[in-house]
């Protein structure tokens, strides 16, 4: 059953986090009968348990819906749900590239936020037709009229095109679908042209190998066809093509304009890169689609098993996880303090948390993560330039000519009351002020150029707390810049703990050292003996604190029922200590390794 191209639509839903994107997508599926209401697990599209728990989308999803519109035609609407976090902005951009239109969801009480703007700009870059929706109009604090006005003034979409909706209550669903078939243009591709299909996601299926999510832009993809990935150059034979309804449903072919999947005995997601172009090996397209980028990790951290015997398990778990996560990179790392583990690269902090959580949950590991860092470029006196993603690997200062660090362009959207706080925070974090614009609805858009290292060190949480939660943030990498940086070392009980080293701005190093020592003092539990903590720069101690020895831990009574109670209590305490890593004689908890993230 194929749909004429003019009745095909491909759309995405874009929104700031928590504005109700997934709930709205669910309503669309329900309304079009793609998923029966009784089968509706709340939020069908977020499939990982983690995604459902956190209320965020990590992997893109795609579903085909059939909608009988008021004009009497039945339209095929392909809905691509995109990840909702700045860590995954490249995936978002590829998903958008696979669409012709986008439903923009704005929360009726929150209004436009930094990610809303970033998403709109991206959508406009891809020439998407935008259908604006003000969601959550049923909430008591909703102000849909004001938000509608904001959409017109800030984004330039006519107020009368804005649809009021409550995804939770199903208000506005039909209006949205009508606007989609009316406003979003049909695809323009030619089914007979050489094949060009854009990969916008891929996931690993233990039985079938990689399932590649694609949109066919030109030509037709058929089962049995020999295909080539134009960026990686690898070829495969297509075993199956299909569509999502929302479960995988095989079809004979996918032609220009259609969204679906292909399975071709691909064993690793690395061979099915997001952004790559699938073409017909026998009749290849002249050029790949534009916009491909080899995704590189932005933040790096060590992951170590707290139980050294779990090293092999961790290795196997990472291998498995990597099959499904092309953005995850890792290599073995040895820490004098933490033993054998892996240095892992992530797209951002959320990605890091998710990976650690999945490793622990799905593979039953207990891990200790070190504080994330960025990748520095170190120019040596020899003229050689080396990347350094682990502070402990920073060469001796005498060998260093210069250090460059990654910089980002940060966009903050905040009510005007908090502008002062935002600027103060950003200056503290070595930000270079670029621009400030007042927008309607008492919103100010501030842009800064600042080191990525500062962003990953608690910047977002500070932004939120110093704006009473109103500020929102978006950022993109804009290159490297030389900086005056030094390595701060930490000694616990006289021994350097490599995993606690950090690279900091020279002018702030001493202060950071003091704060870190103070913080560690509160995080390292009292031990049987006194534990000195020192922070040092280039061998010179700049701060010293002492964790006093445990004074007393003795139960006065041990009779009858006390025995069971006491034993259980002691066993529980020991259980809680699993997360402690023994470094020399000292037991250091996980939080201590993260202390460098929040020194304000």
């Amino acid at each position: 059953m194929s749909t004429p191209t003019k009745l095909t639509r491909a759309i995405s839903v874009i929104a700031h986090v928590d504005h109700g994107k997934t709930t709205l997508s669910d309503r669309l599926l329900e309304y079009t009968g793609t998923v029966a209401q009784r089968d509706m697990v709340e939020q069908v599209l977020d499939q990982l348990d983690l995604e459902r728990e956190r209320g965020i989308t990590i992997k893109a999803q795609a579903v085909r819906m059939l909608y009988k519109a008021d004009d009497g035609n039945t339209y095929q609407i392909n809905l691509i749900d995109t990840p909702g976090h700045v860590d995954f902005s490249y995936e978002v951009s590829r998903a958008l590239a696979a669409c012709d239109g986008a439903i923009l969801v704005v929360d009726a009480s929150q209004g436009i936020e930094a990610q809303t703007l970033a998403n709109v700009h991206q959508a406009l870059d891809h020439h998407l037709k935008i259908v604006p929706v003000v969601n959550k109009i049923d909430l008591p604090q909703a102000n849909p009229e004001l938000v509608r006005e904001e959409i017109e003034k800030v984004i330039g979409l006519p107020a009368e095109s804005v649809i009021f909706a409550s995804a939770r209550q199903g208000i506005g669903t039909k209006e949205i679908l009508e606007a989609v078939v009316r406003e979003v243009p049909p695809p323009t591709g030619d089914p007979d042209a050489p094949l060009q299909a854009l990969i916008f996601d891929a996931k690993f299926d233990a039985y079938r190998g990689v399932v590649t999510y694609i949109r066919v832009l030109e030509g037709t993809l058929r089962k049995g066809m020999r295909i080539q990935m134009m960026q990686t150059g690898k070829s495969f034979e297509v075993d199956e093509v299909g569509i999502f309804r929302p479960d995988r449903t095989p079809v004979e072919d996918l032609s220009a304009g259609e969204v679906g999947y292909l399975i071709a005995n691909i064993r690793n997601v690395r061979d099915s890169r997001v952004g790559d172009t699938v073409t017909d090996e026998a009749r290849p397209a002249a050029a790949p689609l534009p916009g491909y980028r080899h995704v590189t990790p932005m933040v790096f951290a060590g992951l170590f098993p707290t139980d050294t015997e779990q090293y092999q398990q961790l290795k196997e778990a990472l291998e498995k996880l990597q099959l499904n996560d092309a953005a995850l990179v890792y290599e073995p790392e040895t820490s004098a303090a933490l033993g054998f583990g892996f240095r892992c690269g992530f797209l951002g902090l959320l990605h890091m948390e998710i990976v650690q959580e999945r490793l622990e949950r799905e593979f039953n590991l207990t891990l200790l993560g070190t504080a994330p860092t960025v990748e520095y470029r170190v120019k040596l006196r020899t003229g050689e330039e080396i990347p350094v993603d682990n502070p402990d690997h920073l060469p001796n200062p005498s060998e260093i000519e210069a250090i460059s660090e990654p910089m980002v362009l940060a966009t903050i959207v905040v009510p005007s009351t908090y502008v002062g706080n935002m600027m103060e925070l950003s200056q503290e974090r070595r930000g270079q002020f670029l621009n400030m614009e007042y927008e309607p609805g008492d919103r100010v858009v501030i842009t800064y150029r600042m080191p990525l290292a500062e962003i990953i060190h608690d910047y977002y949480d500070q932004l939120k707390s110093r704006s009473k939660g109103y500020a929102s943030l978006d950022y993109e990498l804009v290159g490297f810049e030389e900086a005056d940086l030094v390595k701060l070392d930490v000694l616990v009980a006289g021994s350097p703990v490599d995993a606690l080293s950090m690279i900091v701005d020279r002018s702030k190093a001493q202060q950071q050292g003091r704060r870190l020592a103070e913080k560690l003092k509160t995080l390292i539990p009292r031990q049987l003996f006194e534990v000195p903590i020192q922070a040092a720069i280039g061998g010179k101690v700049v701060a010293r604190e002492t964790v006093p020895a445990m004074r007393k831990d003795v139960t006065a009574k041990c009779y009858g029922g006390d025995v069971t109670r006491k034993r259980k209590l002691l066993e529980k305490q020991k259980e809680g200590k699993k997360r402690l890593k023994r470094v020399g004689n000292v037991e250091i908890p996980q939080e201590a390794f993260m202390a460098v993230l929040s020194l304000d």
């Binding site: 007393k552 003795v554 006065a556 009858g560 029922g561 025995v563 069971t564 002691l570």
Partner: protein
């Protein structure tokens, strides 16, 4: 199952439940004493028929306030105990609140076969007694010890509390001195411990009461230990001191990991099974429910647990190290023992270990080390 030679009987009634107490004790239920005594006797008889028990070397009637029982009631309970078989030299202890120790009561208890009286003195400082909600005065407490001794008790113990808010080191030592003047054979000094779920716990949590710091608590503890040693008392367990020949045999046997039967509401039993595992079993806590279930012919068991031989050895070590005359209970854990000796918490001599001064202060850490070792030994075996 290893033969049982120790019996604990619990009496959960009190005139007033002091605010720091988290034992299984109830005020205003004295009306239940007669049926409760019936139930106790019945449980003793049933246990005698079902378990390898006796002759009993030690019997301990604890509470609550067992001294609320009349001489006749104690006699009834003891008649049942004697039916199990009581060794001629058996130690038979009754815990007593000073308010209840009259000449008549003493006569009744002695007549019923009690030969050791443990008096809950707690403190002699008026402010401390008020804070602790004790209904007797310091004078009452001293009088109680004298009455017991003159009435014929040759083995009297006093329970004291230190680390009570508002009580200075000197005041604490004054209390200790006055009690020593009475020539008690045995003395238990417990740190006032804040238990959650007690009124004291709530007062501390809400900031109404501030407990002394660890340094002050330990200062009072070690000062008492020094004084008691000078006075000829042997510090044989973390919180217990005795004149030569007078340690509490009942408790000593439990600390040496010997089995015991616990009878009465909320009482715990410990059995040693033939494969080296330990079974612990406890009775329902509420006196109403206990009486009802026992009268209906039930066992009134509320829960139980069985520890594998490995974990039982860990538990034995955890308890055993509290014995300051030395213990061989850590014999299966040479590595842990070595580490703890290295850390300055244990002293070792020919396989026997005892806690150092620092080890006493951190006894739970020492105990936990053996428990953990035992748990991993158990896992390794699986």
């Amino acid at each position: 199952m290893e033969r049982i030679h120790s019996l604990y009987l619990h009496v959960p009634f009190c005139t007033w439940v002091c605010k720091y107490c988290d034992f299984n004790a109830y005020a205003v239920l004295e009306g239940l004493i007669p049926p409760y005594v019936e139930a106790l006797s019945r449980e003793v008889a049933v246990a005698a028929a079902e378990l390898p028990i006796g002759p009993l070397e030690t019997v301990f009637i604890g509470g609550g306030t067992p001294s609320l029982l009349t001489g006749a009631q104690v006699r009834k309970v003891m008649d049942g105990v004697r039916a199990i078989g009581l060794a001629p030299s058996a130690e038979v202890t009754l815990e007593a609140n000073p308010s209840n120790v009259t000449g008549q009561a003493v006569e009744g208890w002695l007549g019923a076969g009690i030969n050791r009286l443990s008096v809950g003195v707690q403190s002699l400082q008026p402010d401390a007694l008020r804070f602790l909600e004790r209904l007797h005065s310091g004078t009452d407490a001293i009088a109680a010890i004298r009455t017991a001794r003159s009435g014929g008790f040759a083995n009297v113990s006093a329970d004291l509390l230190y680390g009570v808010p508002g009580v200075s080191l000197d005041a604490w030592l004054d209390t200790l001195e006055s009690v020593l003047d009475e020539g008690v054979q045995h003395l238990s000094a417990y740190e006032l411990t804040v238990e959650s779920g007690t009124r004291l716990g709530q007062e501390v949590r809400t900031g109404l009461v501030q407990m002394p710091g660890a340094d002050d608590q330990l200062e009072q503890y070690w000062a008492a230990a020094a004084r008691l040693e000078t006075a000829g008392y042997r510090h044989y367990e973390i919180s217990n001191w005795a004149q030569p020949g007078f340690p509490c045999r009942h408790n000593l046997s439990a600390w040496n990991y010997q089995p015991y039967l616990g009878v009465g509401a909320g009482a715990h039993s410990m059995f040693r099974l033939d494969d080296g595992s330990t079974e612990r079993r406890w009775k329902v806590k509420g006196p109403h429910a206990y009486i009802k279930q026992v009268s209906a012919g039930g066992h009134a068991v509320d829960g139980d647990e069985t520890l594998s031989p490995e974990r039982a050895r860990g538990e034995a070590a955890m308890i055993g190290v509290r014995l300051l005359d030395g213990t061989s209970s850590t014999r299966d854990f040479p590595e842990q023992r070595h580490d703890l000796v290295g850390a300055g918490l244990l002293l070792e001599n020919a396989g026997q270990v005892r806690l150092t001064r620092r080890g006493v202060e951190l006894a739970n850490q020492v105990g936990a080390a053996f428990l953990v070792e035992a748990a991993s030994a158990e896992q390794g075996k699986r």
